[in-house]
């Protein structure tokens, strides 16, 4: 009965990671949900696909935390859209997350590198 999921060349984002990527994207200025999704996809070379089912809850969560704020504006095509932008608290949060991410990726890279060299022996 249970169908096996077809393999997809896509990386599921950890929740904390998506929050950080959104904050990072908004560093360049206000953006709407669609734009944020596109920016992450393009910026990652189509590797990172942001599901709308994760994106919007994340946006609303971040807004509630006070890290981003939103306002309705018209886009370049005269399309009314809800634009999000970083707050001061959000900038601080981004800095903190970046620090943590650097630590984590260094640690993981170190581990993976060690594994690789071991495998090469």
């Amino acid at each position: 009965m249970v169908k096996s999921e077809p393999y997809r060349n896509r990386i599921e984002l950890l929740q904390g990671t998506l929050d950080m990527l959104i904050l990072q994207t908004l560093r360049w200025g206000p953006q709407h949900g669609y734009g944020i999704g596109q920016a992450i996809r393009c910026g990652s070379g189509e590797v990172l696909q942001v599901e709308t089912g994760s994106l919007y809850p994340a946006l609303h969560r971040l807004e509630r935390q006070g890290w981003i704020k939103s306002e309705w504006r018209s886009s370049e095509h005269n399309q009314r859209a809800k634009y999000y932008q970083l707050t001061a608290a959000g900038k601080k949060q981004l800095a903190a997350e970046r620090g943590r991410w650097n630590q984590l990726s260094t640690a993981i890279a170190g581990l993976m590198g060690a594994g690789e060299s071991e495998g090469n022996v």
């Binding site: 009965m1 609303h60 399309q79 009314r80 859209a81 809800k82």
Partner: protein
């Protein structure tokens, strides 16, 4: 409807909608710009976007756990669910409302009568005073207490209410009135609405005659005239001055419409053997019932020692009970019974709704499973189901309040006027709180199991996936449903048994042989005012003339006068036997004898058999009249010791006092050794004087000429329909004295019906509740069996394909219903056996374990269960095997 606005989508909701709309628009535009066909672009964008509703929901979850918002959201879901299945909602709400409404109505009565204090100031200090359990006071005893007590701030004597002929208002009318001592009103703590009551000293002979009116009488007879005070009215042909009007609702003692001062002169109050008075007292703050009783008992003992010769009844003591208990104690058992009955009805209603919800939850199984699979937590699903139930319960509770209110309005139609001192019965704070709690509890009760089941199903579906979970949940659900049905049958059996017992008891009570003829007896009362009929001789002349006229009416077989009707007599006294020691037995019961005045035709008219000796004759009347005239003309000189009245006694009295001797010729006295003496000339059959339930008590019959305590009541026996003689009787009375109205014209059967009215109400109500319970249980059984049949259509199809006959299928389904019914009946019988003994104080002539009732009720329930199975069984038998198999 502003309430709907609460549940409509708020701004944030619209915002989110628009945000998503914008997202889609941008995505579509991007695709079109890349050269896609617009229609394909839109489809692709939507596909890419994913499940919009789900995304909205999970996003909404991020808005934070604001409790009111959450609750509103749950409520909105719940309302949406309800609007999807309006018929289910209506059925459930009405079922609940019936149950809750009945509970509200009964509880409001209990709240007013049993739980709240009397509506008098400091009601806990109010007591009723007696010379012993059920023994009214004697005047001298009361005066002793009033003079010497330490425990009371005040006490007041009053007499059993009488009828007064009131003229000078609107129409001449007959109203119940009571003569009271001056302290009566201040003891109760009530003040008049207008004017005043009377002061001490005005309750003496020779004082101006004053009357206080009830609010109702003031309204109906005097058009609520505020200048009524000081006006003259006539009571029994004597002028009285209206001095006060009592506030609305004050009618203590029950049904009384006017109050007049009582003549408190010691001569008028009678001797120590005349127990004709009632009294109320107000205890000092801090005094307990026990202390008050001890205080009065001490006085009785002391007085006994002071006057060893005059106070002959040493067994007469003091008995104090709280006014509340005296007034409402007898109702307590019945009221709690009613509340238990309606609580059980509500329980069945809850079980039914739980069953309906279970059936519905299995219909919505897929929805739940999907939501579970999509990540809704079990708590979240549970909460949603529960909030539906709670909302349902609140709607039921609200509608139930309306039903309850209607029930409260209808109550007086059943029960008659509400006694004074009862706080208003209605939807007050505590009743509303009770209803709210009841509704919430019901909601939890019927909501929890289905909610648990459906949330379980969702989680199971997620864990296992596929059909396995569904099948096993179906079986569980069936098991729960079966359990609920068995419980319903058990509960309704218990109720039905209670109803059956009450009904049987009522029938027995109604058919109790109380010693007199029932059919063809007409009774009518007249009031002989003292101004015209001041002497025994005048009364005797009148009654003889009236009896002659009435006896000559066509269709009248015999007629007589009496001062008390059977079942309605309450005058008694304590006796001393001639030539025997009085104090052989110290119990009060030992010496109380009912007193009854009659004319010679009474025994024949009422069909009371003569057992020994002879009946009283006209000559006995003449002799008694001569004796009493002699006594009253020389009250001080005459030697009462030698005065002897002829009397008849009943069989109970003969057996009690002269078990081994011939009662004829024996003597006894109501006034100690001082006489006058009564000499027994005959023994007659027993009658019940204290109501249908109370076995015959010792009773003596003496010649009638208008008693101080009772009335002047005509009884006649006719072969015609008794009431048809009423106009003729009124004509005959009017022919003798046109100013003398006739009232309380009733047949003996009406009197019996009136006596058993309380039992009729009780068995009617509990029968109604039991009927409701059985109806609900039948609906429940039908529902479950219909569900089972629907579930097993497949299986039944296979059976039939393999050669099973329609009758086999019918038997299979009905057999399952029967099994359930039998289990329910077994549990119910056990429960009823354990519970009905609490009924025993209400039952008359029926054991609480009456096997016939149990068997009959069990059979009825099994029949009802089979009937409820019949339709689903028929449907099962009509299953087309091919059709059923194809359904898979």
């Amino acid at each position: 409807m502003s309430i709907w606005r609460l549940f409509t989508r708020d701004r944030r909701e619209q915002d989110l909608d628009e945000e998503i709309q914008a997202h889609l628009a941008m995505a579509i535009r991007a695709r079109i710009e890349r050269g896609e066909d617009p229609r394909a672009a839109e489809l692709a964008a939507r596909r890419e976007f994913g499940n919009r509703t789900l995304i909205q929901e999970t996003t909404r979850d991020m808005w934070g756990r604001r409790l009111p918002g959450e609750l509103l959201q749950d409520a909105r879901y719940a309302l949406r669910g309800m609007r999807r299945s309006p018929s289910f909602t209506v059925v459930a709400v009405l079922t609940l409302a019936l149950g809750i409404g009945a509970n509200t109505a009964i509880f409001s009565v209990i709240d007013a009568i049993l739980l709240r204090p009397l509506a008098f100031p400091h009601p806990d200090r109010l007591v009723a005073l007696w010379n012993g359990p059920g023994l009214p006071l004697s005047g001298p005893s009361f005066l002793d207490w009033q003079r010497e007590n330490q425990a009371f701030t005040s006490m007041a004597l009053y007499i059993i209410p009488q009828s007064y002929n009131l003229t000078g208002g609107g129409q001449p009318s007959y109203v119940a009135g009571v003569a009271t001592e001056a302290d009566f009103f201040s003891t109760l703590g009530v003040t008049p609405l207008l004017g005043r009551t009377w002061a001490k000293g005005e309750d003496k002979a020779g004082a101006d005659r004053e009357v206080v009116l009830s609010y109702g009488l003031w309204q109906s007879q005097f058009a609520a005239n505020r200048h009524i005070i000081g006006r003259q009215v006539e009571l029994n042909d004597r002028a009285y001055t209206v001095v006060g009007v009592m506030p609305r609702g004050f009618n203590f003692p029950l049904s009384v419409e006017l109050w007049v001062p009582m003549d408190m002169s010691p001569n008028e109050l009678g001797g120590r053997g005349d127990h004709g008075y009632l009294a109320i007292g107000r205890m000092k703050p801090g005094v307990t019932l026990h202390q008050a009783q001890a205080d009065l008992s001490l006085i009785v003992e002391r007085v006994d020692k002071l006057y060893p010769n005059t106070n002959t009844n040493a067994h007469v003591g003091a008995w104090v009970n709280s006014l509340h208990d005296w007034l409402f104690g007898p109702l307590e058992m019945g009221l709690w019974l009613m509340l238990s009955a309606v609580a059980l009805v509500l329980l069945i209603a809850c079980v039914n709704i739980a069953n309906l919800l279970l059936a519905r939850s299995s219909a919505r199984h897929k929805e739940m499973a999907v939501r579970g699979a999509l990540g809704a937590s079990r708590w979240r699903l549970l909460r949603q189901s529960l909030s539906e139930s709670i909302l349902l319960a609140l709607l039921g509770g609200g509608t139930g309040l309306l039903f309850g209110w209607a029930g409260i309005q209808a109550l007086p139609l059943l029960t008659g006027p509400v006694p004074a001192g009862v706080p208003p019965i209605g939807l007050n704070g505590s009743v509303l709180a009770f209803t709210l709690l009841l509704a919430l509890a019901s909601g939890l009760l019927f909501g929890l199991a289905p909610a648990w089941e459906s949330s379980r199903a969702a989680v199971l579906a997620e864990l296992r996936g596929g059909a396995g979970a569904v099948v096993s949940t179906g079986r569980r659900r069936r098991l729960i449903g079966n359990g609920l049905v068995a419980a319903e049958i058990a509960i309704s059996l218990t109720l039905l048994v209670a109803a059956g017992l009450m009904l049987k008891s009522f029938v027995k009570l109604r058919s109790t042989d109380f010693g007199v003829r029932r059919d063809g007896i007409l009774t009518a009362q007249v009031n002989l005012p003292r101004s015209k009929y001041g002497s025994d001789a005048k009364i005797l002349t009148f009654t003889r003339a009236l009896l002659q006229r009435v006896g000559g009416l066509p269709g009248v077989l015999s007629a007589a006068m009496t001062d008390h009707l059977p079942l309605y007599g309450h005058t008694n006294g304590t006796i001393t036997l001639y030539g025997k020691p009085t104090h052989t037995d110290n119990s009060l019961e030992q010496s109380v004898v009912e007193m009854h005045g009659i004319t010679p035709g009474y025994f024949k008219t009422m069909d009371i058999p003569l057992i020994a000796g002879r009946r009283l004759t006209e000559e006995d009347h003449d002799r008694a009249l001569a004796l009493s005239m002699e006594l009253s003309s020389h009250p001080t000189t005459s030697e009462t010791r030698n005065v002897i009245y002829p009397v008849d006694i009943n069989r109970t009295m003969a057996r009690k006092y002269w078990p081994r001797e011939n009662p004829i010729g024996q003597r006894f006295s109501f006034h100690g050794d001082s006489g006058p003496w009564m000499e027994v000339v005959g023994v007659v059959g027993d009658t019940r004087q204290w109501g249908l339930r109370v076995p015959p008590r010792p009773e003596e019959y003496q010649p009638f000429f208008g008693s101080t305590y009772g009335g002047t009541i005509l009884v006649l026996h006719t072969a015609l329909p008794a009431l048809s003689l009423a106009p003729a009787v009124k004509q005959q009375v009017a022919a003798l004295d046109p100013d003398l109205p006739v009232f309380h014209v009733r047949t003996m059967n009406q009197l019996v019906a009136q006596q058993s009215a309380g039992d009729r109400i009780a068995s009617l109500l509990i029968g109604l509740f039991a009927g409701l319970a059985v109806l609900l249980a039948a609906v429940g059984i039908y529902g479950v069996m219909a569900y089972v049949v629907a579930q097993r259509t497949n299986e039944i199809g296979i059976h039939m394909a393999l050669g099973a006959q329609k009758s086999d299928v019918l038997r299979m389904v009905a057999g399952q219903g029967l099994k359930l019914a039998l289990i329910g009946v077994a549990i119910g019988v056990a429960a009823a056996l354990a519970l009905t003994r609490f009924l025993s104080s209400l039952l008359y002539g029926v054991k609480p374990t009456d096997p016939l009732t149990f068997i009959a009720v069990s059979l009825i329930l099994i029949a009802v269960a089979l009937l409820a199975c019949y339709v689903p069984a028929r449907r099962a038998a009509k299953v087309d095997p091919m059709e059923a198999l194809r359904q898979e």
